[in-house]
């Protein structure tokens, strides 16, 4: 007597992303901490010194958060208008920020009032940064200029008027105190040397430049503008190296992982993409709730901080190793100690009789119903919401099994409007899937056969049927186009093949 053979669920090759080291690494973060700020968060900067506080520039304030606190440890509020680009100096003691009112302010991190105010720009200052010698400040403004300021004297050292549009991004070299690069909405990147009066290198990005990033070695420069992220080789005179177009909206921010192996780009399309810096392929992808304006990584990638247009600051902390292990341990329910100990120390005696118990066959619910020939119920089970949405292959396998048994028509017939709408919805979602089409097309025909008489009685079902029709027409057109392309390719291949010599003799 054979036992019931369960319905075979077809296993399809997995086409989704594979689990790589990168996905494991970048997924190993806790659930984000979300903090509501007063306005869109335009800039986030980590202090270079421990404990690595970070400055968040949003609206007219700069909040400085500690690495684990959810409340700001410090708030700088002395701005007349929207503040921009709060940046720490390399010793973590001073912080500079631009403002909509064209004044650049320098703060002591421990104090409240501005230490210095640099006036000279005529329009909003969006770019500020310290040079590597720590005594000068670079600023870039909407008045198309960028300037160098001396901190001790609060005087303007130099002004560069080479850009023809807003200067919205800029970086200073960490290795050379005189070099800095600015990017502007006039699509260009310019490399300046403080010792010269003019830019020494100009690169054309092609789109308004939103963000710049220098590699730690400072041989490569990454620029983001429009949908493109481009990498330039500075040592080869600004030769473009790679151009990446992985976002579908403007890329707003760039940052580098702590080991320099991965590049992150954030965009208005709510995604953060992680690139491998050796081959510039996307290796991971994060989703956020809103368009991202600013992104920063803590040293050692301890946390990922993203600021969004809806003024939410999202902080994701890395899981500590024991924590990640703990979580996986918690997911598994552990039986009590007694269960493990029970019978463990029992030594079988010689005349013990071993009772062999038949192994109970575990069957899924739809299989149990199929075993008792409850075809309608098994179809109901297979069409349950979770199965239908998450495991359509199970639903399809049950439909296929019913078709094989010749009872699909019975299972489909005699249903109410709601059920039919649900089934049609499933069909609309999966009919054109090449994996399922062979099974679902006859089933769809059967539904039309069974319910032909009552078409037109329910607006809900009629709408679904119209959608199904539309879908099929579109699919037919699509297939036709594909066949045309195939035909064209065939002719191309045929003409490109070397003609075989026909031996006439």
């Amino acid at each position: 007597m054979a036992s019931f053979k369960p319905t075979k669920i077809q296993v399809y090759p997995k086409l989704g992303e594979k689990v790589t080291q990168d996905t494991l690494y970048w997924k190993n973060y806790k659930a984000p901490v979300q903090i509501k700020e007063f306005g869109a968060i335009t800039s986030i900067d980590f202090s270079p010194v421990a404990p690595h506080n970070f400055a968040v520039t949003a609206f007219t304030r700069i909040h400085i958060y500690g690495p684990f606190s959810q409340e700001p440890v410090k708030t700088l509020t002395r701005f007349k208008d929207t503040a921009y680009c709060g940046r720490f100096r390399s010793d973590g003691q001073l912080l500079v920020a631009g403002c909509e009112d064209s004044v650049v302010r320098l703060f002591d991190v421990s104090g409240k009032a501005a230490l210095r105010m640099f006036r000279g720009h005529t329009k909003a200052v969006h770019v500020t940064d310290f040079t590597s010698d720590r005594y000068q400040i670079l600023t870039g403004s909407d008045d198309y200029t960028c300037r160098l300021w001396d901190i001790p004297n609060a005087t303007e050292l130099n002004s560069y008027r080479e850009h023809t549009d807003y200067v919205r991004c800029g970086v200073t070299s960490k290795l050379n105190r005189d070099l800095f690069i600015t990017g502007s909405y006039d699509h260009t990147l310019k490399l300046f040397d403080a010792r010269a009066d003019k830019s020494v290198m100009t690169m054309d990005h092609g789109q308004p430049v939103e963000s710049l990033l220098l590699y730690p070695s400072e041989g490569l420069l990454v620029s983001a503008g429009g949908r493109h992220v481009k990498v330039w080789d500075l040592l080869k005179g600004g030769q473009p190296l790679v151009s990446m177009k992985n976002h579908h909206k403007t890329v707003t921010c760039l940052c580098l992982s702590s080991n320099g192996q991965r590049l992150l780009s954030a965009s208005l399309d709510r995604h953060v993409k992680v690139y491998n810096t050796t081959n510039y392929k996307v290796v991971h992808n994060f989703d956020y709730a809103a368009s991202i304006l600013s992104l920063a990584l803590a040293p050692n990638d301890e946390s990922i901080v993203a600021g969004m247009t809806n003024s939410i600051l999202s902080i994701k902390h890395r899981k500590s190793p024991e924590e990640s292990a703990e979580v996986s341990g918690q997911q598994r329910r552990t039986p009590s100690y007694r269960v493990f100990v029970k019978g463990k120390n029992y030594a079988p005696k010689q005349d013990d009789y071993l009772v062999s118990k038949p192994v109970k066959q575990h069957l899924a619910k739809y299989d149990k119903q199929l075993r008792t020939f409850n075809v309608s119920n098994s179809l109901d089970t297979a069409l349950a919401t979770w199965t239908r949405l998450r495991k359509p292959e199970i639903t399809v396998a049950v439909i296929k099994e019913l078709d094989r048994r010749g009872t699909l028509k019975n299972a489909l017939a005699g249903r109410d409007e709601q059920w039919l709408a649900r089934l049609l919805n499933f069909l609309i979602g999966n009919l054109v899937d090449p994996r399922f089409a062979a099974v679902l097309a006859p089933a769809a025909e059967m539904i039309l056969d069974v319910y032909r008489r009552v078409v037109g009685q329910s607006p809900l079902v009629d709408r679904q049927l119209l959608r199904l029709q539309e879908l099929l027409e579109r699919e037919i057109d699509y297939q036709q186009d594909l066949l045309e392309v195939l035909g064209m390719l065939d002719t191309l291949f045929a003409s490109s093949l070397p003609r075989l010599e026909v031996d006439l003799s």
């Binding site: 007597m1 054979a2 036992s3 019931f4 053979k5 369960p6 319905t7 075979k8 077809q10 199929l370 075993r371 078709d403 094989r404 048994r405 010749g406 062979a438 006859p442």
Partner: protein, 833 residues
């Protein structure tokens, strides 16, 4: 033509055991069933065939226990005889010659000296009308008896034995045919006839299929074609009869049986579910589902402990009181058609062909026993008429037997056919095939041919499948092992001018692949997938392709639809020879150069065996069987035959099996082989007389040992008795006052003991010898003589003082030596004093 005087076509195994109802003996130990021209006796506990009752010359149509002697059995046959057998010893006791073909036999304990048979009304022509006839057995001591006293009981009965049955205590006999039920009462000598309407309201058919009579009650159960069971009562009146209807089966009820006490009614049908109805409480039913295939007959043992169901797949299931299947006797499954070619599993050397639906059966040809069924489709089989099921249509094995490829196919109405290609790896641990890869829809249309590459290195086996969709595909195991074990994938897709490939074949060394596209044979190199050459012999399509083996490997044989057998030489790429014959099947022997061609000529098939190198047959057999032969296989022999006759040499290395149109498995044997078989057929009788109970396990072993030891012990125990006991008996039985003083007796007694030990070892040694040889008896006699003086030891001291007597036996010498060693100081003291 070559002489073939001594080559004969014989049936080889796999005869039906499910044609008639099996019979369980009174003690439930044996099961008897009709199997072709024989009656087979199976043991119900071990499933082994214990006896094969041979004697009938035609199909056996019924087996029946003799009501008056439960150790004897009647069997009836179409050859017009009824034979009485002793099934425990397998002896034919009597043969009753009826003179007409017998289709069924019935008997009742209340009708002594009479049995009832079903014969055709007109004996000469094979008419459709049958009658029930009572046969009075003549009292005669002869072995062959002619039974002449026939008297008709009922005319126009069904030839189906399930449609007739004896009622309570043999008072009446009921028979069903078509829509009529007829009951004949022996006392009143009157029959009543009840009819049902052609069709009832729902359109089900009322035709009666089978009948069962209650053993204790006046009740007849009839099974109908629409799945209903009717229980008839009050049928001794023409008008006032009543019936109740039971309905569970959705297809025709094929068998009905009451249990001996009449408490339960068993029914079975196509659903392969055994249904047990409580008599008088019909709402309560028990089911035993999934018995494998449709139930054709049900039998109950006379004590009611065992149920036997025979199934349409040539199987008998033994069920213990409707709960548990305790044994399965499985014959070769003969479906209506064998879709797969006959194959030989290279490992087990068993024949592989379609078995149960969706299964492959591995049938041992040497032992005539089904080894196992392999589930290919792995789907729940739905027992329903008219349902399109998956069928295994192609099987291929690679040369070492490590891989098996199967193709299953299902053709739903008005939809694309579903095809699955499955690859199975041989698992050493379970000694069976394990599914490795499933390719769903490997081709868009039916697969016409499939073969493995014959490469000897075995590492890189390749499978080629050709399909009607115009492509042939090569499948290979990828060299780089994936994480989840290796799985097969498509390596190459080939086509030729959009034609549909018909057959494919690898050369013996695997370096060439021949694929036929209609009338063109294309030869490819599997290493580079290059089209090497094309061979063609118009005007008709190629039917079969076959490469030569061994010395003839340069030849490619092909048959065409225009009755042409062609042989191409692959070195010159030209036609070597061709001959005109209608070859229905061409196959090559894997062990020799021989090829066999079955030719269909005028409704019968001829066999030609030839070597591709010369267009002259090595052997030819005319009229092998009627009809076309489409399935055959060369099976390697276990041991080579040494036949020097030229005509039968081709049978030396391997044996040729083929399936006839009627799905009978046949083979060719030589006279020498038959003689050898006959000599070795004195098979061991399986002693199944003692049931295997825990007590048997405990006691049986003990008893066996006892049997073995009995001889040794007889001699070991009985022999020393006269000597040892004589002294001791004397000592113990004589009254104390007559005995000499203890000091005198002591030494005597002790000595007797000592001697007996030495003798005992001697004795047992001899006893062992006794087991082996018979002349040893003389020795023991001699021993006895030598021993005789010992029981009366006068005074050992005196004897020892004398010199050794002449003709001393070994034992005496030994004793002498031992006695010498004894301290005789005390004796000297005694003498001196």
């Amino acid at each position: 033509m070559v002489e073939h005087g001594d080559i004969r076509v014989v049936h080889r195994g796999g005869s039906k055991i499910n044609s008639r109802e099996p019979v369980v003996t009174n003690d439930s130990r044996f099961l008897l069933c009709a199997s072709g021209e024989r009656v087979k006796v199976f043991s119900t506990s071990t499933e082994e065939c214990v006896h094969d009752l041979r004697g009938h010359t035609d199909l056996v149509t019924g087996v029946l226990l003799r009501p008056t002697n439960h150790l004897q059995v009647y069997s009836c046959s179409v050859d017009g005889t009824v034979r009485l057998w002793d099934f425990t010893d397998g002896i034919l006791i009597k043969t009753y010659d009826i003179g007409y073909p017998v289709y069924a036999i019935y008997a009742s304990a209340n009708h002594e000296g009479v049995f009832f048979i079903v014969t055709p009304t007109q004996s000469d022509n094979r008419s459709e009308l049958f009658q029930l006839v009572a046969v009075h057995l003549p009292q005669s001591g002869d072995q062959l008896v002619e039974a002449q006293e026939l008297s008709a009981v009922l005319s126009n009965v069904s030839s189906n034995p399930a449609a007739t049955g004896f009622g309570r205590g043999g008072e009446y006999i009921a028979s069903a045919k078509g829509l009529h039920l007829e009951v004949y009462f022996f006392k009143k000598q009157k029959s009543y006839r009840f009819s049902l309407k052609e069709d009832n309201k729902k359109g089900g058919k009322n035709t009666l299929m089978c009948i069962a009579c209650h053993p204790k009650d006046d009740c007849i159960a009839t099974g109908h074609e629409d799945g209903k069971i009717r229980l008839w009562r009050n049928f001794n009146h023409k008008k006032e009869y009543t019936y109740t209807t039971l309905h569970w089966h959705h297809n025709a009820v094929s068998s009905l049986r009451f249990t001996p006490e009449g408490t339960n009614l068993l029914s079975g049908g196509l659903e392969s579910v055994l249904v047990q109805w409580r008599y008088n409480q019909e709402s309560e039913r028990d089911f035993l589902p999934r018995l494998g295939s449709a139930i054709t007959h049900i039998a109950v043992s006379p004590d009611g402990t065992l149920f036997c169901t025979s199934h349409s797949d040539n199987k008998i299931t033994i069920i213990q009181s409707c709960v548990k299947v305790s044994a399965v006797i499985q014959g070769l499954v003969n479906g209506e058609s064998v879709r797969t070619d006959l194959m030989v599993d290279p490992r087990s050397k068993s024949l592989v062909l379609n078995g149960k639906p969706g299964h492959l059966q591995f049938y041992s040809l040497q032992r005539d026993k089904l080894l196992y069924n392999l589930d290919i489709v792995q789907q729940e089989y739905i027992h329903e008429l008219g349902l399109q099921q998956f069928e295994v249509v192609k099987v291929a094995f690679d040369a070492p037997g490590n891989w098996m490829a199967t193709v299953e196919e299902r053709k739903p109405k008005a939809a694309e056919p579903e095809i699955n290609l499955k690859l199975w790896a041989f698992d050493e641990q379970t000694q069976s095939f394990v599914l490795n890869t499933t390719v769903s829809a490997p081709h868009e249309a039916q697969i016409t041919s499939m073969c493995f590459s014959q490469a000897a290195d075995g590492q890189t086996s390749m499978l080629v499948s050709a399909s009607e969709d115009g492509h042939f595909k090569a499948w290979q195991l990828p060299r780089s092992a994936c994480t989840e074990g290796p799985s097969w994938s498509c390596d190459f897709v080939g086509d030729y001018r959009g034609l549909a490939p018909q057959c494919c074949c690898f050369s013996a060394d695997g370096s060439l692949l021949a694929v036929s596209f209609q009338e063109v044979v294309t030869v490819w190199s599997p290493a580079s997938w290059e089209l090497l050459t094309t061979l063609s012999q118009p005007p008709k399509a190629i039917r079969d392709l076959c490469f030569g083996r061994l010395g003839c490997s340069k030849y490619l044989m092909g048959t065409t639809a225009s009755n042409l057998l062609c042989c191409w030489n692959l070195l010159t790429c030209s036609l070597e020879w061709s001959t005109s014959m209608d070859v229905s099947l061409l196959l090559s022997d894997p062990l020799t150069e021989n090829m066999a061609a079955f030719c269909c000529q005028a409704e019968s098939t001829d066999l030609f065996v030839f070597k591709p190198s010369e267009p002259r047959p090595v052997a030819s057999l005319k009229a092998v069987c009627s009809g076309k032969v489409t399935r055959a296989v060369f099976a390697p022999r276990e041991e080579m035959l040494e036949s020097c006759e030229e005509s039968s040499q081709w049978l030396n290395r391997s044996q040729l099996y083929f399936l006839t149109q009627h799905m009978d498995l046949m083979t060719f044997t030589t006279k020498a082989e038959e003689d050898r078989l006959a000599a070795s057929s004195k098979q061991l009788f399986i002693d199944d007389s003692v049931a295997m109970t825990p007590f048997y396990l405990l006691l049986g072993k003990h008893r066996k040992q006892e049997n073995q030891d009995s001889l040794t012990r007889l001699s070991a125990e009985l022999m020393p008795l006269p000597r040892g006991s004589l002294a001791i008996k004397e000592l113990l039985q004589s009254p104390a006052h007559v005995l000499p003083s203890t000091s005198v007796l002591c030494s005597m007694f002790v000595e007797s003991l000592l001697v007996s030990v030495a003798d005992g070892s001697e004795e047992s040694k001899h006893a062992e010898e006794e087991m082996e040889s018979e002349k040893e008896e003389e020795d023991s006699e001699g021993e006895m003589e030598s021993r005789t003086p010992r029981p009366e030891p006068a005074s050992p001291g005196l004897q020892s003082a004398e010199s050794a007597a002449p003709a001393l036996t070994k034992a005496q010498l030994k004793e002498l030596r031992r006695v010498k060693k004894l301290d005789h100081g005390w004796l000297a003291d005694l003498l001196l004093s």
